[in-house]
């Protein structure tokens, strides 16, 4: 029984990362109908930015205490990662959108931008892995054989909080209404006096900012950074978004946790090398049975 509860808590933590990244994928897809394949690498960049921010704050220049560093690093990391995401949108996606290029070209550009981010990171910082400093002092609570650390609580709480905030923004505010409008009809929206470009930039700020938060929390939980850390987790988070039904906030959240539970379940039963195989097979089966995902709405095309 303890074993099962322990694994459920681990799956909640693992699923939280997937949910956080999948929310960013879903936001951008919901507004732009564009799969931002570079999102996993923006998460990686976020982890690296968190590393440098934390190193600078803990260093001799400022010399803050670890806890204060954590509190200051969260907004700063989110802001800087959002800047990276917006830069990507400015230099790579916006010119293509202005030209009215085929969606395929935008997708390929996104894929390539992800590769550029990975390999330029490898070129600049080298292949040696970085060790993330410990910011939050680890407290371990033993609840009858189940270990719970404060970090796990922070991660799960952050995922739920981000989900609630995003849900509020998209469903209750004016800017969220504009986002839903853009995804509904991109051509009528500018006629209504809505600045389409700034809405899209805001979407990228939200998505990339939360990817940066996910990067910081991930680096705190698994404190080894490498340039390719965003590749596989980005794909998996994307799978989570697709399984939930891409373009739907709830779907991304539940899909992330579903995938976390599936993977932790596979690892407890089978050898851990089978994890990717099972994850991708489940994706294939779900897409085959329900091409629009669990929460997604089927799109009809006019002939």
């Amino acid at each position: 029984m303890d074993f099962i509860i322990q694994n459920i808590i681990n799956a909640l933590q693992w699923g939280s990362f997937y949910a956080l990244i999948a929310l960013g994928y879903t936001l951008v897809y919901g507004v732009l109908r564009l799969i931002n394949f570079a999102h996993g690498d923006i998460f990686m960049v976020g982890a690296y930015i968190a590393f440098f921010v934390a190193g600078f704050m803990l260093g001799p220049a400022l010399g803050l205490s670890p806890m204060a560093t954590f509190l200051f690093a969260v907004p700063l990391t989110m802001f800087l990662t959002a800047c990276v995401g917006v830069t990507l949108e400015r230099i790579a996606y916006r010119p293509l959108r202005r030209k009215g290029a085929h969606r395929l070209y935008v997708v390929i550009t996104a894929l390539m931008c992800g590769l550029i981010l990975e390999y330029s990171n490898l070129a600049v910082l080298g292949a040696s892995r970085l060790k993330f400093p410990e910011l939050v002092e680890k407290t371990i609570w033993n609840l009858g054989g189940v270990t719970l650390t404060n970090l796990k609580v922070i991660v799960i709480f952050a995922a739920v909080a981000v989900f609630v905030i995003l849900n509020f923004i998209v469903t209750k505010t004016k800017i969220g209404m504009a986002m839903r409008g853009i995804s509904y009809d991109k051509f009528a929206i500018p006629l209504m006096g809505i600045p389409i470009d700034s809405i899209i930039v805001f979407t990228f700020i939200l998505g990339s900012g939360f990817a940066g938060l996910a990067g910081l929390l991930f680096a705190m939980s698994y404190p080894v950074l490498e340039p390719f850390m965003g590749m596989i987790i980005g794909w998996k988070a994307f799978i989570a978004a697709v399984v939930g039904g891409i373009g739907d906030i709830r779907g991304a959240f539940y899909g992330g946790f579903l995938l976390g539970f599936i993977e932790v379940g596979v690892v407890t039963v089978f050898p851990s090398t089978y994890r990717d195989l099972f994850a991708f097979t489940i994706l294939l089966i779900i897409l085959w049975m329900k091409p629009t995902g669990l929460f997604g709405m089927p799109q009809s095309t006019k002939i």
Binding site: H102, I108, L111, L115, Y119, L277, L287, W288, P291
Partner: protein
């Protein structure tokens, strides 16, 4: 006679290459580059069938290459190697058996492409792209979990077949040096690949592929069996990629699941979009250009020269050519997408650009 000029020229070029390789006018490195050009031509033209001619978006093409490479390697070791017990065939049979080994690898790869073809009946472009990437990861992950082919440590022993061919070469052909058999087969398979694709696309049946690209619903109404066309097209494309994989395994002599990951698929995609969507000659030209470019970018001296301003500012930064290469290739593709999305040739063939060429070859 004039109609056959092109074919005769190509055959003469192949014979000249083989003769130069035999007489050691071109060394082993240049031979390897020529073989990779052939393999990359097979990859880009076969991916062009799906991405260009059918207008679907596949970005997991290396999965089929992986299947073909592994099947061909295992058959090769079974037939002529000593890893799984005694060789089945004598060494003399290697010339006749080798092409069948490669073709069988292609056939199994074609069967594995049903994994992609079946979901493609229902799903549209974005989701199909995801499915292909998922298949790429699945194939790699599945092979890494098979211990009897070495798992993630890779698999070797295919060179036995090449040596068997070399050892049983008749004396009048061998002369001083080993005859470059693998090069011969790469050239033959490249010619076969281009022949198959050309015949398929220009046939009445193959026109259905272009119809699916233009408008699937209209094609369905005009009695094109779109599901069948999609399946056949995916299988031909994957089969040719599987043949390329088998040849790749025999050129290198060692396969590893990680050498067929998403980067390999990206290489094939870059070649297709560099050449132009749906243009066979464009895919061939871009494969040649891209392979040669890759080999040029391998040189550390050139990379150092290009990055001299940056290294002057940051003296302790030492970029390695292997990494910078993978920054430059995606950058190249991003620039292509921004400034010339139609690639080198666009949707045209070489004979559309230079109409006088039509005198020199036939459609048959």
């Amino acid at each position: 006679m004039q109609k056959y000029t092109f074919n005769i020229l190509m055959a003469a070029l192949a014979v000249a290459l083989l003769a130069m390789a035999q007489l050691r006018i071109i060394d082993n490195y240049i031979q390897a580059v020529i073989m990779f050009v052939g393999i990359n031509i097979m990859m880009s033209t076969s991916l062009n069938l799906v991405n260009g001619n059918m207008g679907e978006f596949t970005c997991g093409h290396a999965a089929f290459m992986c299947v073909g490479a592994y099947v061909a390697s295992i058959l090769s070791v079974l037939c002529f190697g000593s890893k799984f017990g005694d060789p089945i065939f004598p060494e003399v049979a290697s010339f006749f058996v080798f092409p069948f080994i490669i073709l069988l690898g292609g056939a199994v790869a074609a069967l594995s492409s049903i994994l992609v073809a079946l979901p493609s009946f229902k799903t549209r472009d974005d989701y199909l792209a995801i499915i292909t990437i998922a298949v790429n990861y699945m194939v790699i992950s599945a092979i890494e979990n098979m211990d009897w082919v070495g798992g993630s440590r890779g698999f070797q022993g295919m060179k036995d077949t090449a040596w068997a061919m070399v050892d049983s070469t008749p004396a009048w052909l061998a002369g001083e040096n080993d005859f470059p058999w693998i090069l011969l087969y790469v050239i033959l398979f490249t010619a076969f690949d281009i022949w198959v694709i050309r015949r398929f696309i220009t046939s009445t049946y193959g026109k259905g592929v272009n119809a699916v690209c233009q408008d699937e619903t209209a094609a369905e109404i005009m009695s094109v069996n779109t599901n069948k066309i999609k399946t056949v097209n995916f299988m031909i494309s994957a089969g040719l990629a599987g043949c390329a994989g088998g040849l790749f395994a025999h050129v290198i002599g060692y396969v590893n699941p990680q050498s067929f990951n998403i980067l390999k698929s990206t290489e094939a995609m870059v070649m297709v979009y560099l050449g132009g969507m749906g243009s066979l000659s464009g895919a061939v030209i871009s494969a040649i250009v891209f392979t040669v470019l890759l080999e040029i970018l391998r040189s550390q001296a050139l990379i150092d020269f290009l990055l001299a301003p940056a290294t002057f500012v940051f003296p302790d930064w030492e970029p390695s050519a292997g990494v910078i290469k993978w920054v430059m290739i995606p950058l190249l593709l991003v620039l292509i997408m921004q400034f010339r999305p139609e690639g080198i040739m666009g949707n045209k063939e070489l004979s559309d650009v230079f109409p006088k060429l039509k005198k020199f070859y036939t459609f048959k």
